[in-house]
C-alpha cells in the first residue's frame, strides 16, 4: 500500500507543479517577467565566474572611462569596472530583498494569525500598533531606523522588515478571520487541538496562495526600497557594490561619464519591472481561475 500511496502523492505533486507552470506559461507577461528575473539570478549565482574583474579593484589610470574592450561598460570615478560591480551588486540586492521579505512574512504571518485567531484584546492591541506603523510615510521610518542603527546590510534588512510587516499581518489576519469560521477549524477545536497547531497547521496552508503573490510583489518593493536607500546613502556602506549607491556615485560625474549612471539604472529598472510583471501576470492568471 505504501508504494501506491507514495506514487499517488508524487503524481499529485507533479500535477500541481504542472498546473503552476501552465499558469505561468499562459501569461506572456509572467513569462517575460520570469525570464528577466532568471537572467539576474543567473548573474548573481555565477558572478565570481563571469565577472571579468574584481569589483573593488581600483585602477587610477582608468577613471570614468567609456566602454571599451578592456572595460565592457566603462569604469567609475575610482577606476573600478562597472560591469563587475553590477554583477556583484546583483548578489547583494538579490540576497537582501528576499531575506527581508522572508523575515517580514514570518513575523507578519505570526502576528496576523494570532491577531485573527484569538481576536479580542490581543487583536485590538496588535492591530492598533500596526496601524500606527502603517500611518507613517515609509521613507520617514527608513530614515529614522537607519539613522538610529547606522547603514549596513543587516540594518537595511531590519528597516525593510519593519516597514513591510504590518501589511502582511493585515492580509493574513483578514484571511484568518474568514477561515476561522470554517467547519474544519471547529472540528480541530473540538478535538482539543492546541491553538498554535490550529493556527500553523490548519489555517496557515490555506492562506498560502494570496500570501505568495503578495510576497512576490513585496520582493519587488524591497528591491525598490534597497535601491532607494542606497541612493540616499542609507544603504550598504562603500565600497560594497550596491546598485543604488552606484547611481548616487555616478550621478556626481554625470557630465564626464553619462553612461556610468545609465547601466545601474537599467539594471535596477529591469529587475524591478521583471518582478512586477511576473507577480502581476501570476495574479491575473490565478484570479481568472478562481
Amino acid at each position: 500500500m505504501s508504494t501506491n500511496a507514495h506514487l499517488q502523492k508524487y503524481t499529485n505533486r507533479l500535477r500541481k507543479l504542472g498546473q503552476g507552470l501552465s499558469i505561468i506559461s499562459n501569461s506572456r507577461v509572467a513569462v517575460i517577467g520570469l525570464s528577466i528575473i532568471l537572467f539576474w539570478v543567473f548573474i548573481a549565482l555565477f558572478a565570481p565566474i563571469i565577472a571579468p574583474r574584481d569589483p573593488l579593484a581600483q585602477d587610477s589610470s582608468a577613471i570614468n572611462q567609456d566602454p571599451s574592450t578592456t572595460y565592457l561598460l566603462g569604469t567609475d570615478h575610482l577606476g573600478r569596472d562597472i560591469l563587475s560591480r553590477l554583477m556583484y551588486g546583483t548578489r547583494t540586492i538579490l540576497t537582501l530583498a528576499p531575506t527581508s521579505v522572508l523575515t517580514s512574512v514570518c513575523i507578519g504571518t505570526t502576528l496576523g494569525l494570532i491577531s485573527g485567531y484569538f481576536g479580542g484584546l490581543i487583536d485590538e492591541v496588535v492591530m492598533r500598533l500596526l496601524d500606527a506603523v502603517m500611518a507613517f510615510p515609509a521613507i520617514l521610518l527608513y530614515l529614522i531606523i537607519i539613522a538610529a542603527i547606522g547603514p549596513s546590510a543587516l540594518n537595511v534588512v531590519i528597516a525593510i522588515t519593519f516597514v513591510g510587516t504590518p501589511g502582511i499581518a493585515r492580509l493574513v489576519r483578514s484571511l484568518t478571520l474568514d477561515i476561522r469560521t470554517r467547519d474544519y477549524i471547529r472540528a480541530a477545536e473540538t478535538r482539543g487541538e492546541n491553538p498554535f497547531y490550529i493556527m500553523f497547521v490548519e489555517i496557515l496552508p490555506n492562506v498560502r496562495g494570496p500570501l505568495i503573490i503578495d510576497s512576490l510583489l513585496r520582493v519587488g518593493y524591497a528591491i525598490f526600497a534597497i535601491g532607494t536607500l542606497g541612493f540616499l546613502g542609507l544603504g550598504l556602506p562603500p565600497p560594497e557594490p550596491d546598485w543604488g549607491g552606484m547611481v548616487a556615485d555616478a550621478r556626481k560625474f554625470i557630465w564626464i561619464n553619462p553612461l556610468g549612471v545609465l547601466w545601474p539604472i537599467l539594471a535596477i529598472a529591469s529587475l524591478v519591472v521583471g518582478l512586477n510583471l511576473f507577480a502581476d501576470g501570476l495574479r491575473e492568471e490565478t484570479t481568472r481561475y478562481q
Partner: protein, 431 residues
Amino acid sequence: MLRYILRRLGFMLLTMLLVSIVVFLVSEVAPGDVARHVLGQFATDEQVELLRNQMGLNQPLYVRYFDWLVGNDWRHDSKVGMPLTYTRARPGDELEWWAVEPDGTLVQWRMKSGSLEQIRITTDGERTLVPFDEWDTNKDGEEIFWGVDNANHVVLWVKGSEDSTGPASAGRTMTKGGGREYYPLKKGLLRGDPGISLRTNRPVGPTLTRRLRNSFSLAVIAFAFIMPIALLLGILAGLREGSPADRAISLFSLITTSIPEFASGVFLILVFSFWLDLLPGASVFVDDSTPLENPKMIVLPILTLTLVEVGYVARMTRASMVEVMNAPYIRTAVLKGLPYRRIVFVHALRNALMAPITVIMLHVNWLVGGIVVVEAVYGYPGVGLYLLDSAMFKDINAIEAGSMVMVALAVSTQLIADIIYTFLNPRIRYT
C-alpha cells in the same frame, strides 16, 4: 460625525507625541555625535565637550525632551532673576532671547576680555553697551553671575575663571572666557517654537516653513498633472477591458510605477539635460525665491513624480472602472437602451471614482516618499531634503520638527480621506 473627527484628532496628537518620544530616544542611541559633526574631525575632545555643554547635550535625556516640548525659559528665569522673552529686539533682527527689565529694556550680556558687558536695547530701539560689574558671591566665595548671552543661552559666568575657550564654527560666536554652565533657551514646540537647528545654528521654524512651501508647490503642481492624466488613462483602459489600448496602458503603468524615482529621475536628467540639453539637471535655487519663479527648474522633478505616480492611480481607476462596468445596474442601463455616453458619465463614473479617490488620499504617504527622493535627486530645497540632511547630521531639533510635520500630514490626510469617503458614499452617511 463631529465626535468621530475629534476622537481621530485626539488619536493623531497622541501618535505625534509618541513619535516625538521615539525619535528622541532613537537619536539618542544613534551613533555619531552632533557636536563632533559641527566642529569637524580635527577638533579636540575638549572643544567637543565644551560645545556639547553649550548645546545642552550633557543634560539628561528627559530634561532635553521636556525642554524641547514645553520650553525651559520658565525654569531658568529665576536664575537670571528677570523675565525672559524670545523676540526681535529691533525690526529686521533675528529672533533672540533677552532678559527684560521692568521698564521694557531688553538685556543680554557678553564676556569681553575677561569682564562682562551688558547689551541693552530700550523700547525705542536704542542699543547701548554698558560695562557690567554686579557679580554675586556664591557660597564658595566665587564671584558669579547668571545672565543671558547673545547666543540664546542662560549662562553661569564666574569671574576670572579660565573655564572655557569656546569653539567658533558654523556661526557660533563663542569667545574666550565663556561661562561655566549653559542652558540653551527654548520656547518649546507646544508653544510654537521648534528650536534651533544644531546644523545651521538658525531657527528651525522659518527654514522649515520655506522648505514646506517649496515641497508643497512641487506636490500640488505634480498632483495637478497626475490626476487628470491618470484618471483619463484609467477610465479609458477600464471601459475597454482587454483591448489593445487597455493592455498598452496597463503595461505602461506597471512599468513606470515599478521603477524607483531615483532611477527614472537620473534617467530624465541624462536625457533632457545631458543629451538634449533642454532643461537644467538640478533644481538648486536660492532659498528666498519660489519654485514658481524658476519654472524650468521644476519641470524634471514634476515629470519624475508624474511618471511614478500616474501608473498607480491609473491602475486603481482601471480596476474600479472594470468592476463597475460589470455591475448589474450598468447592464440594466445598457438594456434599457440608454446612450453609452450617458451610461459612462452619469451611471458609472460616480461609483467608479469613489474607490480611487480614497486610495489616492491614502497614497499621500507614498507621494511623500517620492518627493523626498526626487528632492534628493535634483537637490530641490524641500522638506524632504531638509529631513534627510538633518538625519545625517543628527540635528535633533530639525528631525523632530520635520517628522512632526510629516506625521501630521500623513494622519490628517487619512482623516480627510475617511471624511470624503463618508460624504461620497451615502450607505455610510445615512447609517
